[in-house]
Subunit: 319 residues, 2 copies
């Protein structure tokens, strides 16, 4: 059984042919911003799908479905893209029907973080969970709720914005219009800022050496590498980051009582030092029963999670 | 069609006979703490049910079901009470099976706030909503999530603890073991404290007059009355309270994207001044799309909401 998955992101657009839902047979990667208009990119996606099928001697009618994940708000029911984050010209695009018209392959479209959650649920760190929260840590902090085994989308497809839970009544202004949102403390640039501020005071930190002694070159990856080498400043950055994530998760544990929380995205690669801090904070701050039951684990499927989720979505039975 | 509802609270235990699910035909109210042991109270509940049936010429087999709401954590599946809040001797009670053995009436048991939510959904301020959050403001701050038309209980029946969302990373210690929880700012006693602190500085406030000039006699009801008379101090108390509730709800609106939030409990009787502040804060702090869609409304069913919810639960089809 073959499916197609598309992961439409602000940086890369990935297109893959899958066998038995989860095995990638072939993949194409496009640089989203190299295509000057959405029409040109959509044509290139169609061309790539055509190539993948041709290379594998497949006809459209042999494909069970096409799933599309989008980095931005969408209307799942209508397969409609409201906006592609950081890419202009992608406002209000009925991508599902545009592709269906050309391909005649059953098509579904969802938010990319939702699909990461779906993939982790079926084949990754969420396997077997009934109620699960999946969060992705990167430039932004994304989230998806899997409730009673299914993606919970809310009344207008906007649910899951875990990054925009206020963790302080008075806090710094967030891009979303709110104040004191989790993302405003643990989004990439704020982690980097935390590290920079500390490094200014502790100039012997390995972080600075790994960044060629340039404070402007500090990245979450560098902070992770320094932490793994035992650098105290880097460890402090991750502990504080984990603590702030843990405070937000404590609230979610009290409200949702999930059995699992799966954490992915680039920042999650900081590993044990980050996860230990998150787990300790949740254990301390959330209510006893749900805190004891919840397992907080790293995502397992890595960068292709969104594509795999798109492939799972492609097998949906609803039209 | 007849049903029975029991609302087992820390102060009162109400028992009612319902016709057509929502019409109370007859009701008994017991003072929970006047009964020295759970056995004595359970016998009194059974006796009251017997009286209600006898007075209405009904036999047990004419009753479609019995629903029980409990002020405290329960296991819905097993009909098991972990604890009755503020009443000793009610730990780990399999009340559902105890009552079923005696009555042979199909019995269901749930947390009381869940049943308030169910009642508001079917017959009250939540009518027609698919995704709804119901919160109750009183000594504690309770909550229930109605997702896709059904009570969401979580993995271990503890979901919905809206009162224990941290709204500040560093905040006062809460009874639940957490810090900076919503309840720790807007539970009855903290609203009273806010009023007392203000009244000490503004001794002309109507609040003080309505409390017989005794700061110790200030209650939320008095603050509400003063606010309705235009007292600026009282209005400030409710504005601040609404603001804090609004910050927590902004997070929930971002995560759940519900179409309605229903607010009940004694404190909600403060009315417009409180609701206006909550709505303005959510409009300002939550993300644009879900904030625009959500309606924040007062509960409609008053003190019998829990009993009505118990009656609705009694009509459940699952055994």
């Amino acid at each position: 059984m073959y499916t197609l998955g598309v992961d439409l992101g602000g940086t890369n657009t990935k297109i893959a042919l899958f066998k038995e839902v989860k095995k990638i047979e072939a993949k194409r990667i496009l640089k989203t911003k190299e295509y000057k208009s959405k029409r040109i990119l959509i044509n290139k996606i169609l061309e790539s799908i055509g190539d993948l099928l041709k290379d594998n001697n497949l006809k459209n009618k042999q494909i069970k479905g096409l799933g599309i994940g989008v980095a931005g708000p969408v209307d799942f029911e209508r397969g409609f893209i409201y906006r592609l984050v950081n890419v202009k010209g992608w406002e209000n695009v009925p991508l599902k029907s545009l592709l269906y018209k050309k391909l005649k392959i059953k098509t579904f479209l969802d938010n990319d973080v939702n699909l990461v959650g779906l993939a982790e649920l079926k084949y990754g760190a969420g396997k077997g969970a009934k109620n699960m929260i999946c969060i992705t840590l990167g430039t932004g902090v994304g989230g998806v709720l899997i409730l009673e085994g299914r993606i919970y989308r809310g009344s207008h497809s906007t649910a899951g914005e875990v990054g925009h839970i206020p963790i302080n009544v008075k806090g710094p202004r967030c891009n979303c219009g709110g104040e004191g949102c989790l993302e405003r403390y643990v989004g990439n640039r704020y982690i980097i800022k935390r590290a920079r501020d500390l490094v200014k005071k502790r100039s012997k930190s390995r972080i600075l050496k790994l960044a060629d002694n340039k404070i402007s070159k500090i990245t979450p990856e560098i902070i992770s590498r320094a932490a793994k080498l035992g650098d105290k400043t880097a460890i402090a950055v991750w502990k504080e980051t984990g603590y702030l994530i843990g405070v937000a998760l404590a609230g979610l544990v009290n409200v949702f009582n999930p059995e699992r929380i799966v954490i992915g995205g680039g920042v999650s690669l900081a590993g044990d030092v980050l996860f230990k801090s998150i787990r300790e904070t949740v254990a301390k701050r959330a209510m006893a029963t749900p805190a004891r039951q919840v397992k907080i684990v790293p995502a397992k499927l890595g960068e292709d999670a969104g594509l795999i989720g798109a492939s799972i979505l492609a097998t949906s039975s609803k039209e």
